[in-house]
């Protein structure tokens, strides 16, 4: 049977499921895969940032939140997370 190619929405949903269940490493994997298919989506960057933050990978988290702001300067949540992580 031929494997159906993954679509970014499914990957995002699976990632979100892992994120909400505090399985941060698994969530990171899914969001990264989703980004490969949709590299300019600030929502994916934001959630990848959350997953990194959840896994205590602070530098990676900051990088993702900055990326969100590059793509969408008005992303309030990303700015808040970035501020919260400043100095950490």
């Amino acid at each position: 049977m031929k494997k159906t190619p993954a679509n970014p929405e499914d990957l995002l949903e699976t990632g979100q499921f892992y994120l909400l269940n505090q399985k941060f490493s698994e969530a990171i994997k899914k969001f990264k895969e989703a980004l490969k298919l949709k590299p300019d989506d600030p929502k994916i960057y934001f959630q990848l940032g959350l997953a990194y933050e959840g896994a205590c990978q602070i530098n990676e988290a900051k990088e993702m939140f900055r990326k969100v702001l590059e793509l969408d300067a008005g992303a309030k949540e990303a700015a808040e997370h970035l501020e919260r992580l400043a100095g950490k």
Binding site: L20, N21, Q22, L50, E53, G54, C56, N59
Partner: protein
Amino acid sequence: MAKKFAVIGLGRFGSATAQALAEKGFEVMVIDTDENKVSALSDIASQSLVLDATDSKALKDAGIADIDIAIVSVGQKIDSSILITLLLKELGIKEVIVKAVNSLHGTILKRIGADRVIFPEREVAVKLAESFVSPKIFDYIELSPTHSVVEIAAPKLFFGKTLKQLALRERYKVQVIAIKRKIPFITEKGLPDFKEEVNIAPNADDEINEGDILVLLGRYEDLEKIERM
């Protein structure tokens, strides 16, 4: 025979050193010009003396010549520390260890015969700096020269285990004061976010999850072991 120590200057460093030596069972003579500092250590010291260590006769009368190792830590008083070091070497103390406040002070101390020069502030600062650049350490409070409280990302090995199973107090001599956990939820916009939950004085049955931050109390070297896991 066990070595006899003298600690001259009972600031934070001197007092901690005297205490550590006494705990290890050594005879320690403690000396300072401040009566309060001396009496604070009188229970653990073999001899506690209020005297000015720059006074050669007073040192001699105190029986300093019987001491094997003298530790001099008179804070910022560079001139006093130089004079005391000189006197101790003249009185025949085999090993004189002196706390220096800066490199020049250290160089002078070595020239006049100090056997060892230490820079505790610098050493602590280096350790602190190292701990801050560690991506796993989120906060650090120094409680005393030996103990601190750190906020540290739970190592992978701890995931899914209870505090009882981990037995951190027995195995690593550290106490878990609190566990900080990020609890995910969905915002009104339909996006996930976190709120932080702090479990203070956790129970033995509480489990460590991925992403937990542990607030640990312990000796620097024991905390470092966990940080390196």
